[in-house]
Each structure stands twice: as C-alpha cells, then as structure tokens.
C-alpha cells in the first residue's frame, strides 16, 4: 500500500495517470457519437493521418514544441476526414475505401516527412517517431495542461450542443426539418474526433487510437438505454481503463503504457458484451435456456394430458419409462418440477396393474394448466 502511495507521488506517474484519465474521458464521450453514427473507424483514419501533422508541426516550429505538433496533428487529422468525405460523396468509392485511402496515403506522407526530418540531422528530432506508439512515460506537466485544455473545450462543446448532437445522430432528416444546420453539426462532430486523437497521440500513439475511440463507447452501450447514460458510462470506462493501464505499466516497469491501456478498455468490452444485464450474451443464453426448459415442462405436462384423454381417464397413471420413450429423453427432472408446482403427483399404481409400482398422475390443477397451454397453442395456430 505504501509502495502504491509512493507510486502516486511520483511526478512522472502522476503525469501519465492524469494524461490517461483525460484520454479516457475525451475519447469515451466523443467515441460514443462516432460509434452511434457508424463512424467507428474514422478515429483510426484520423489518428494515422495525424502523423504528417506531427512532422509538419515540428518542421514549422523547428523544435519539438508540443503545441505546434498537436496543432499540426489536428489539422491533418481533420483534413484526412475531409478527404474521406470528399472521395465518398463525389465519386463511386464507398466509405471503407475512402477511409483506407485517407489513412494509408496520409500515413505514407507522414513517413516521408519523418525521414525528411531525420535527413535534416536536427538534434531535437529525438522521439518524434515515438508518436507511432505513444510515449506516455515522457509526458510533461505542460503536456497534461494542454491535453486538459483540449478535453475541456471538447466537453464544453458537447454540453452546449447536447440536444443538437443527439438529434443529428439519431435522426438527421428530422433535425433538418426543424431547421438545424445538420451539415455543420456533422462536420463539427467529425472534427472533434480529431481532438480526441490529438490527446491520444502522446499516450497511446497513432496505431492504437482506433480502439480508444471505439471500446469505451461499445462497452458502455451494453449497459445503457439512454444516450445520457451511455456517454457518462463511456467516459467512466475510458477513465478507469486509462488509469488502470497507466498504473499497471508503472508497476510493471517496462511494459508499454499504450498497449496496456488498450487491453484494459478491451477487457471492459468483453465483460460488457458477455455480462451486461439485458443485452449481455450470458443473459441471452439464460433466457434461451429457461425458455427451452419451460417448453419442455409444458410438453411433458401436455403428454400426460393427452394420454389421460386418450384413455378417457382423468386420473390415468403414466409410467416413467413410457414418458421417457415419448420424449426420447429423461423426463424425471421435468416431472419433479411439475410435482413441486402441484401439477402432477407421484402416485401408486392401481392394485393388480402390471409394471412399476409408482406412476405419474395429473392433479386437477395440472389438468387445468395443460388445457390452458393447449388452448393457447391452438390460439396461436389459428
């Protein structure tokens, strides 16, 4: 525990944890809109496209100045989104091709610029290519302030335009009929993803940013029925995942921070998809299983009823073995459950009857229930 507290007092680790939390916050909030607008991979394209911006920012500033590098990243990231939109709107190329083209060509331009900078033999170039994977450990306090400012600006914008963003995401046509400037709102939502990318550059790098935009939102979606809840939860998952990954990396000394953050939020996705109440796969499987069990109970009950009706004997006694052959399976468990519900009885065979001594008999409640089931089946069939 003391070791953990000491960890938290470490200047570098404070920076890393703060940066990771900010990244989780902004990408959780903006990612929710991106995922719901089916623009999940836009974050991937924009983050790869940030590389030439990083290089241009460096070339223009002449030094590794964080502000200009992030500004460059913002500009080329947004530009790539624009190119993607242009290619898909103005030609026959589909969204996936537009995304892939913008991603790979902008990244290639970044590689070219990166080697150009290396060719300049500038001593200050050091660590520029670290933006590929992020370099969380090198985060300075000043970087944290910049990231905080960007996050704050993005959150303020989302808060101010909340209902507009919500309606444009859900039903853009209706939004337009109300007179909202739909195109501008959509452009704004798209460009704001570039803000998240810029915050993520330092922490997870361009390659892994895709998951940071998608994972918290997808995880949160499984637990929530309203956009408000989803965005809050995505922000929380992003922050917790970010902080957890950052601390894990600090504790392990030597494991890269970015991948650990990504794995943390991805685990959140996995847990959410399987366990979230209502939407989770486990719950669905349980519902399915219960339904099947109930159906089986009903089938056994109606078989008893049919046998009784066939023999014109309401207290007809059925052998366990006969019921098993009818259903091709063991029916004891189902019969025991029906017995507990008071629908059947495990009664004595009539004196002198051949075969086993104890047999299954319908109770009056069982007869009523079987008739109800059969009636509802017929009703559905009609």
């Amino acid at each position: 525990m003391t070791a953990f507290l000491a960890l938290l007092q470490d200047y570098t680790i404070q920076n890393v944890v703060a940066g990771a939390a900010l990244l989780g916050l902004i990408s959780g909030v903006l990612g929710s809109f991106a995922v719901l607008r089916q623009q999940s991979l836009l974050g991937d394209t924009m983050s790869h496209a940030a590389l030439p911006g990083v290089c241009l920012g460096f070339i223009i500033a002449g030094t590794r100045h964080m502000g200009s590098i992030l500004l460059g990243a913002l500009v080329t990231g947004a530009l790539a989104a624009l190119v993607m939109l242009l290619l898909t709107r103005m030609s026959r190329l589909k969204t996936d091709a537009g995304l892939g083209i913008a991603l790979s060509v902008f990244f290639a331009l970044g590689v070219v610029l990166l080697t150009h900078i290396q060719g300049m033999n500038n001593a200050a170039q050091g660590g520029l290519d670290a933006f590929l994977f992020g370099q969380a450990a090198a985060t300075l306090r000043s970087d944290v302030w910049i990231m905080g400012g960007i996050t704050l600006a993005a959150l303020a914008l989302v808060a101010a335009l909340w209902k507009e963003f919500k309606l444009v995401t859900f039903d853009p046509e209706f939004a337009a009929s109300l007179g909202m400037p739909v195109v501008w709102l959509e452009v704004l939502l798209t460009v704001m993803i570039a803000l998240a990318v810029v915050v993520g550059l330092q922490m997870v790098g361009v390659v892994l940013m895709a998951a940071m935009v998608i994972a918290p939102a997808v995880a949160a979606r499984q637990w929530s029925h309203r956009l408000e809840d989803m965005v809050w939860l995505a922000a929380a998952i992003g922050v917790v995942g970010g902080v957890f990954g950052a601390l894990l990396s600090a504790l392990s000394r030597g494991l890269a921070t970015g991948p650990l953050i990504i794995l943390s939020v991805s685990v959140a996705v996995l847990v959410s998809i399987t366990l979230a109440p209502g939407r989770g796969l486990v719950w669905e499987a349980m519902r399915l299983w219960r339904g099947r069990r109930r159906l089986r109970d009903q089938q056994v009950l109606t078989t008893l009823y049919r046998l009784a009706a066939h023999h014109a004997d309401p207290v007809y006694r059925s052998e366990q073995g006969m019921l098993d052959t009818y259903h091709g399976l063991g029916t004891r468990a189902a019969l025991r459950k029906l017995e507990r519900r008071g629908l059947v009885e495990w009664g004595q065979a009539r004196p002198g009857e051949p075969g086993p001594e104890r047999r299954w008999v319908l109770t009056p409640a069982g007869i009523a229930e079987a008739e109800r089931i059969l009636a509802s089946l017929n009703g559905e069939g009609a």
């Binding site: 719901l36 101010a160 335009l161 909340w162 209902k163 507009e164 919500k166 309606l167 995401t169 859900f170 039903d171 046509e173 209706f174 939004a175 337009a176 009929s177 109300l178 007179g179 909202m180 979606r221 929530s224 029925h225 309203r226 956009l227 809840d229 989803m230």
Partner: protein, 260 residues
Amino acid sequence: MTQSLHEPGLALHVEDLTVSYQSKPVLWDIDFDVPPGVMAGIVGPNGAGKSTLIKSVLGLVPSVAGHVRLLGLPYKAQRRRVGYVPQRSSVDWDFPTTALDVVTMGLYGRLGWLKRPGRRERDEAMAALEQVGMTDLARRQISQLSGGQQQRVFLARALVQQADVYFLDEPMAGVDATTERAIVDILRRLRDDGKTLIVVHHDLQTVRSYFDWLLILNVRVIAQGPVSEVYTAENLKRAYGGQIALLDETGFLSDRASGS
C-alpha cells in the same frame, strides 16, 4: 404575387415544382394545392416521387424550379407550424434512447440553442404519448418497441410540435391493424380540430375511407382534388399503368373506384 403572403387561403400551395436527384428529375412541374382542414393522401406507384415531394416541400431536398407556400409563406418562415413524421425505417431503432426522449425531440426546434428540455417539455411529451396510448411504455428503450409502437412514438413526436400542417411519410407501412386504426383515429381528430394532414400512403384499398383529398402522383401530377372526384379507375390506370392489372382481377376497381 409578392414575396409576402401568397395563396394564404391554402394549407399547402406547390407551384411548378421540379426536383431532381443527381441531375435526374424525379418530379416534373408539380402543381398541388391542399385546402386547410383536410386529410389529404398522396398515392402513386413505387418511384413516383411521393416521399421526394414531401421532402422537397420541407426543404430537405433542393428543387430545380418552382416554389412552395405553407399557409401563404415559405417553409422557412412557417417551420413552427409544420409537423413531420419521417418513414420509420429512416432511423436506427437500436439507438440508446427512450420513447419519451424521442417525443421530446419534437420540441427541440422550439427550444432553440443552448436550452435543455425541462419538466414542462417532459410533461408535454407525456401528454402526446398519452394521446397515442403509449404512456406505459414511455421509459422503454425504443428497440424494445414493436413496429406499430415505434410508429406511434414518431406520431407523438409530431403531435408535440403543435403544428397546423402535418406531413406523414407512410405512417401505416408495416404496422398492425390495431395501430393503423389508432393512427387513423388520431389523424381524424386532428383534422376535426382544423389541422391539415398530408399523408403519403401505399394502400389503395383504404384511400376512400381515410382521406377526403387526394393527389395521384407518378413523376407528375395525374390528378388531384376531393377523393370522390379523383379516385377513379381511369386516373389510377394512368398512374399505375400495367401494375393496376392485379387490382383489376380482384374486382377491386369496379367495386370501389367507379363509385358504385
């Protein structure tokens, strides 16, 4: 004709409207008038431009030529007096939002920038949900609603707009018989309150019983006016061409359209 009031006596006045998608015209020189206080149907075969006509009136699709007046003024000036129910299939119903939320969205236009919906808006939305018989399902996530219930939510969203003219794009498509009756009842009540309803409709069988005004459309105006005058075998044949043969065989046309 001036920039101000033009044909103020009509709920909707469309004049010489030509609309094209990707430079391919889908509506040619449409002249279409709807008097106030009627329930007007728009029918025509697939690809006739029924939805496009509504969208163009609402400024969602640009027009090549012509103009539109709602209660005497362009749409931009009359936005607050118009309600719109888009096709149900136009949105993703898996979106994380509740029925109440969706209905509240109808008030966003009135609220203006930066203002959030509050208690008053929620009460209004609840009242609209009550009108369509959905009070119990107000907090339900929209993906858990049936098709008919989703359509009622969309209708409630338009109701909350408190408009004078309503545009509905296929509100009866894919809903159960009960919902269809409920929707028609609500629309009739609105009409009796003096509102105007303009409905894109696909089911010719119910045209006579639902509507009192009709536009038969197929890229151009085939016929328009009171249903009793317009809904004739001749006009339907002109609009639907070969497709009407099916209806002929069922004896539907001779039964209904000839007015016997």
